[in-house]
């Protein structure tokens, strides 16, 4: 009896409307990621370290007050971390990064409203760092920066047994920014203790900091929310002041989206 009730409840939930048409709705997506990461920072070591990683992200999309209903705003917060190991020894590097972004998208609704394409821009700022026990006077590296990123979304709604599912792809690519960068052989003793600076703020663009955030997700309605899962890639790279860095996060994402209707 209880199973039948739960089955009917599930069917009822699956018939909930999709939040695809933004209209006057706010969509909040919380995703947790687990996977692997590869971390390189030639200031610390010439080797790429790899190991498990985790992340949490929160993305909010809502209609803008302008743009005739075609423009939406997006806010994004993410925190990711990894505990990586050297390929040649048992040494470890902790890596972590906090990212905050906000911006706008112009939306196009195609295929009878089943396909939403959005393109826009984000203002991003991030901070983080890597820390390991390999170096004595160079044990860690801090990261701090801000950039303007191009952002695109493709979301397609389809039905599976009368249940509205949504497949979405989101790509953010930083185009121009400013980033703190240690000089090639500069020690933190010089920078922070003696106050010696040397081209520590660098302009970044895809040719010296080719980075990317990608989320490919599938969501289906479950109760009042939507279960969302998929693949997430966070590719952070830079080659500044002769030092090369990368943080490649590949993760399985799972979380939920909620749609809140705004009554005005």
């Amino acid at each position: 009896m209880r199973r039948i009730f739960l089955f009917r409840l599930l069917l009822a939930l699956l018939s909930l409307p999709l939040p695809l048409a933004l209209g006057a709705q706010v969509q909040r997506t919380t995703l947790f990621g687990i996977g692997g990461a590869s971390v390189l920072d030639t200031y610390l070591t010439p080797f790429s370290y790899s190991g498990p990683s985790g992340s949490v992200s929160l993305t909010t999309e809502r209609p803008a007050h302008w743009g005739g209903g075609h423009v939406s705003t997006m806010g994004h917060f993410s925190l990711c971390g990894a505990y990586t190991e050297s390929p040649v020894s048992g040494a470890h590097i902790w890596d972590g990064e906090l990212n905050l972004a906000g911006g706008w998208h112009r939306n196009w609704h195609l295929c009878d409203g089943r396909l939403r394409l959005a393109a826009g821009g984000l203002m991003e700022c991030f901070t983080g760092g890597s820390y390991g026990a390999v170096g004595g006077n160079n044990p860690g590296q801090a990261r701090l920066g801000a950039d303007v990123a191009a952002s695109g979304i493709a979301a397609y709604r389809f039905n599976v047994k009368a249940s509205p599912w949504e497949a979405a792809l989101r790509v953010d690519v930083p185009l121009l920014g400013l980033q703190f960068a240690q000089q090639y052989g500069e020690s933190y003793y010089e920078l922070f203790h003696l106050g010696h600076t040397d081209r520590n703020l660098r302009l970044t663009a895809p040719w010296n900091a080719p980075s990317l955030r990608l989320q490919a997700t599938l969501s289906l309605p479950v109760r009042h929310s939507r279960l969302t899962f998929g693949y997430g890639a966070e590719v952070r790279q830079s080659a500044l002041n002769g030092l090369r860095q990368h943080g490649w996060y590949n993760q399985f994402l799972i979380g939920f989206s909620r749609t809140i209707s705004l009554l005005r």
Partner: protein
Amino acid sequence: MKRFLLLLSLPCLLCACITEDYDGVSTPRAAFEALWTTLDERYCFFDYKQVDWQAVHDRFSRSITDTMQRAALFDTLARMTYTLKDGHVNLSSSMNTSRYGAWFDDHPMNFSDSLLHKTLGRAEDFRSAGGMQYRVLAGDSIGYVRVASFDTTPSTAAMSEMLYSFKDCPALILDLRSNGGGLLTAAEALASSFIGEHTLVGYMQHKTGKAHNAFSAPEEIWLEPSRGSRWLRPVVILTNRRCYSAANAFVMYMRTQRHVLQVGDTTGGGSGLPFSSELPYGWTIRFSASPMLNTDMEHTEWGIAPHIHADITSEDYRRSTDTILETARKKLHELLTPQSNTINP
């Protein structure tokens, strides 16, 4: 639609992988090349020491074979690093840590625990705080401070207490012999107790690229006077060849002061702030990365010569005479007058 997808993929095309130089494979050849390249790109004294690093590569490369044992490989690589004549260049593995030692082994020791014990006396005869041991010298009015290392930073309170205990002394002897260094910040903290004003004590630069001569412009190093007690009466620093790294920097800072005299042997040097990097087999290499210069913009990598040179001879050891300490005492008594605080020639 096509245009949108093209627009979406265009930024992705701009992305390129930024990757490592080494794939993590550990072979004798990979270890040799990684060590040579790391030093080639990041070591800071090639030009100053006039080392032909390419010639070193060619010479040692012939010794590397795929079948050589790790111990033999380690010894070969260690010998390669010795060509840099730098105590800050150390190859480390679980079996050994290489260290170039000619900078002290080829010189008199000029120090012994027995002589130190004779100077400090029994444990209850001297104070010990902030990494320093100190007392007023027996049968004299001169204060004596033993600073064996800069591994810990003495607190302002500890330094003030130490100086206050010498309030009735006209002069002080700082014994830095065999102080192998430690934290630059500890050396700065102690030196700040011996300066009276905002003082330029040297310069520092760093590499800006892989070329052997790619350096930043030297930037000034300033010291602020301690917020606690300050000692502006005459000071003699005792040095030997084993005064190295942060101890060498401390002497460099102190040599800017006119009330400071250096007695003993030339310091060991070690003026390049060391960095570390990783090699195949999990070995690590430490190397000089950022050179420090004195106020005349001269390197102190080979050491700082004393104002008054003195050595402890075999006969001195037999007689339990610390010749360097006695030279310092004698010089202080010769130079001291009640009003004088300038003994630096």
